[in-house]
Amino acid sequence: MNDSATAQLNDSKTIFGFWVYLMTDCILFASLFATFAVLHNNTYGGASTHEIVKLPYVLAQTVILLTSSFTCGLGLLAARRGDKNRVIDWFGITFLLGLAFLVLEINEFSQLVYEGNSWRASGFLSSFFTLVGTHGLHITAGLLWMVAMIIRIGRLGLNGVNIRRLTCLALFWHFLDIVWIFIFSLVYLLGVV
C-alpha cells in the first residue's frame, strides 16, 4: 500500500474508533438520564423542576449550542476544502458560542446553589446537577480541545493529522448538541408541563 492510502486507512480507523467511544458516552448519558427519571420527583420537600426551570433562559442556551454545532460543521467543510483561514474563523465562532453556553450554565448553577437548591438538597437536585453538570464538563473539555486545535492549525496549517483530529472534534461537538436536545426536552421542557 502506498503512503497516502495507508494514511487514509489509519485515519478512518481512528475516526471510527472515536465514533465507538462516542457510542459508549451515549450509554453513560443514558444511565444519568435513567437516574434522573427515577429521582426527578424526590424533591425532599424542596424545589421541583417547576421552580428551578427558566424557559426563555434555556431556550437561549439551546439555540446558542445548536448554532455552534452548525458553525462547527461549516468549519469542518472548510478544512476539507483546505481553507485554513475559514477553519479558524468558523471554529473560533463555535468556541465563542460554546463559551457563551457554558457561561449561561455556570450562571444558572451558581444561582441555584445560592438559592439553597444545590446538589445536596435532594435526590432530584443531585441527579439534575450530575446529568447537566456532566454534559457541561464535556462541553468544557470540547472547548479546551477547540482552543488547542485552533492554535495548532494556526501554527502548523491543515495537514492530514490536523484534519483527522478536527473531524473527531466535530463528531464530539455534534454529539454534545444531540445530548443537549434530550436534556432540553426531557429535563427542562417536560419539567414544566
Binding site: 471510527f16 455534534h174 426536552s185
Partner: protein, 120 residues
Amino acid sequence: MDNQPQSGQPSTASYISGFILSLELTLAAYILAARHILSHQQLVATIVGLAIAQLLAQLVFFLHLGRESKPRWNLAVFAFMTIVLVILVFGSLWIMYNLNYHAGPHVTDTSIIKDEGISH
C-alpha cells in the same frame, strides 16, 4: 488532499438543512411547552417525539449517519448502542417503579421486609 472519513460527502446544504430543521423542531417543542398547548399526555408524547425527530435530523445532516459507503460500521455500532440503551433505560425504570419505592419510607421498608422474608 482528500481526506474523506467513512461518512461520505457532506455538503454545506446538508448542514443548513439540518440547522433549520433543528431550529424549527426546537421552537415547536418550546412553544408547546411554554404555552401549555395540548393535554398533559399529548404534550409529553409530542415533546418526546420532537426530540427524537431532532435527533434523527442531526444524525443525518450533521453526523451523516447512514450516508457512508458500505460496510456501514458507524451505523451498525450506533444500532447496537441503541439496543443497549433501551435495555438500560427501560430496564432501570421498570425495576425502580416495580418497587414500592415512591410510597414513602415506612411503606417501602415494610414491603421490602415482607418481600425479603426478614423477621425482626
